[in-house]
């Protein structure tokens, strides 16, 4: 029973990490920019929704507004930060440092505007939970799981079956060619970052509703998501989402057999060893962009 419950909890947190992973992967595979500040947008959207709920906004509206805000911040990030940098011929290292700067800014804007402390949503329903047989699932967990699956399916459909999605994939696969064929990569990049940011706002808010909000821990979530992305094959949304769930389940179950304090070290330590011994990656797609 313990294992079953741990498994389910792992799947739900895996869904949240999976959404972070696919949204990061979508932008990264398209642009090659290691967008660390994605974690900052995750944090920002959670606190925005919390603040609006505190003002009496209905939760659904607060979630929608938080997503909208994330879209705007994502779009502006590409327009005002990455694009000027790329135009000035910045190396990926410079882009990366700028992104770390932006992450720091976003986290601390949150701490200054809202609260540097751990906060919880003032929503009575967040404590209600259902028991399906021996398994207990809180309402926010259930919503998080369902929405994540929908978002994942939605992004896959969008990417493969819409004109806009195909255009993005065309730019991702060959930037120079896209430029020649008037696909304007710069516009496409801004669109992609807007979409990715909107998507990452959903777990940003819902994980906060389910547990609590914390201004400074999102980097760890992002790094786990990136590990999942690499293990699942860069550019593959299904791989990233699937590996996120696998990683989260392993982390959740591992608590039952070993002291939880080593789990972070175990995930990253294994990853580093793996990279050292098998740099060509799990799925043999030797991917080496820049830096």
């Amino acid at each position: 029973m313990l294992y079953l419950q741990l498994l389910i909890d792992g799947v739900v947190s895996g869904c949240a990490i999976g959404i972070v992973s696919i949204s990061f992967s979508y932008f990264y595979a398209t642009t090659g920019i290691f967008h660390v500040a994605h974690a900052g947008i995750y944090t920002l959207s959670g606190y925005l929704a919390w603040w609006m709920v505190g003002l009496g906004t209905p939760f659904a509206a607060a979630l929608a507004l938080a997503i909208l805000a994330a879209v705007v911040v994502g779009y502006l990030t590409q327009r005002l930060l990455y694009r000027p940098l790329e135009e000035s011929g910045a190396t990926p290292l410079v882009l990366m440092i700028a992104s770390i700067g932006l992450l720091t800014v976003l986290q601390n804007v949150v701490a200054i505007l809202f609260s540097p402390n751990i906060v919880q949503f003032d929503l009575p329903w967040r404590l209600s939970h259902t028991a399906i047989g021996p398994i207990a699932l809180s309402l926010p967990q259930a919503i998080l799981g369902v929405l994540s699956l929908l978002l994942f399916a939605g992004l896959v459909l969008f990417s493969h079956h819409t004109a806009a999605g195909k255009r993005i994939r065309a730019v991702a696969s060959n930037r120079e060619l896209a430029e020649i064929t008037r696909l304007d990569p710069k516009r496409v990049f801004a669109q992609v970052l807007a979409i990715s940011s909107g998507i990452v706002a959903v777990p940003g808010v819902l994980v906060g509703v389910d547990q609590a909000l914390q201004p400074y821990t999102s980097l760890l979530v992002l790094l786990t998501a990136v590990v999942a992305m690499i293990a699942g094959g860069i550019g593959s949304l299904t791989g990233a989402f699937g590996m996120s769930i696998v990683l989260a389940v392993i982390q959740s179950l591992s608590v039952a057999v070993m002291p939880g304090r080593w789990s972070v070290a175990a995930v990253f330590g294994t990853f580093i060893l793996f990279i050292l011994l098998r740099p060509e990656g799990l799925i043999r797609s030797r991917f080496s962009r820049a830096i």
């Binding site: 290691f34 930060l81 000027p84 940098l85 000035s88 910045a90 190396t91 990926p92 290292l93 410079v94 882009l95 990366m96 440092i97 700028a98 770390i100 700067g101 932006l102 992450l103 720091t104 800014v105 976003l106 986290q107 601390n108 804007v109 701490a111 200054i112 540097p116 980097l219 760890l220 790094l223 990136v226 590990v227 690499i230 304090r261 080593w262 972070v264 070290a265 990253f268 330590g269 990853f271 580093i272 990279i275 050292l276 740099p279 030797r286 991917f287 080496s288 962009r289 820049a290 830096i291």
Partner: protein
Amino acid sequence: MNYFLSFVILAEIFSILAVSTNLLMGIIGIFSVAQAAIMGVGAYTTAILMMAGTPFPLAMLAAVAVCAAINVLSSLPALRLAGDYFIITSFGTQLVATAVFINWQDLTGGASGLSGIPVVEIAGAGFPTAREFIVLSSLCLILVAAGFWLLMRSPYGRLLHAIRENEVAVVAAGRRVLRAKVGVSAVSGACAGIAGALYATYISFIDPMSFDIHVSVLVVTMLVVGGARTLAGSIIGPFLLMAIAQLLAVVDIPSTIVGPARQLIYGVILIAFMLWRPQGIAGKRL
């Protein structure tokens, strides 16, 4: 007087750490947010050995050796292939190191840290307070700076510069690129080890939070502000940023937001320099 001296000592220690970061990021061009962790390894090594009775010079030497080895290991993936994987291994190294500092309690004292690290004594001369310690830290900085300068002007330094410019051409000239990079990485680790040994003995108390990711990012900020790829940049950056922090301690801001505000300023500085002055104050373009 001690205040001024202790400011200089800490700035010097961070300058040594900035040189370490500079060697990786500026000279061979690989990203690193794990230099604080490497410095932490040096600090713990020194502290543990000295608390077991080892004299300071030996303990520092051990720290230098251990840090050089660990830095080479942790940067090996990046040296072997120029891929983005290394961003993750760099963050990963930092996270794993912090986890080890916290969890390997028998050795590191865990989250409560190690206190009562003995005062440095070399050949009967003690360095108990800032007045004496500044001699030691300045000497170390001078040695590190001289090492960096000698390195950069030697044939080896020119080789490194060439590798940064065009790795394939260096290979075609019959040079062993990996070996050259491993050499820099080892020197970088050694510098971090020196910084760690000084930090541990000067503060005489270390805990995992002293070497966490925020410190690593701070060092990157210092380097970017001072300017990468030059010696002057690695020294200007730490002194300047620490001076700004000291001034902020005096300026009147509501104290609940001072902490975040300080971090916010660092973030803005990073972005601004990348956008408008990627070469920093006294460096060259990254």
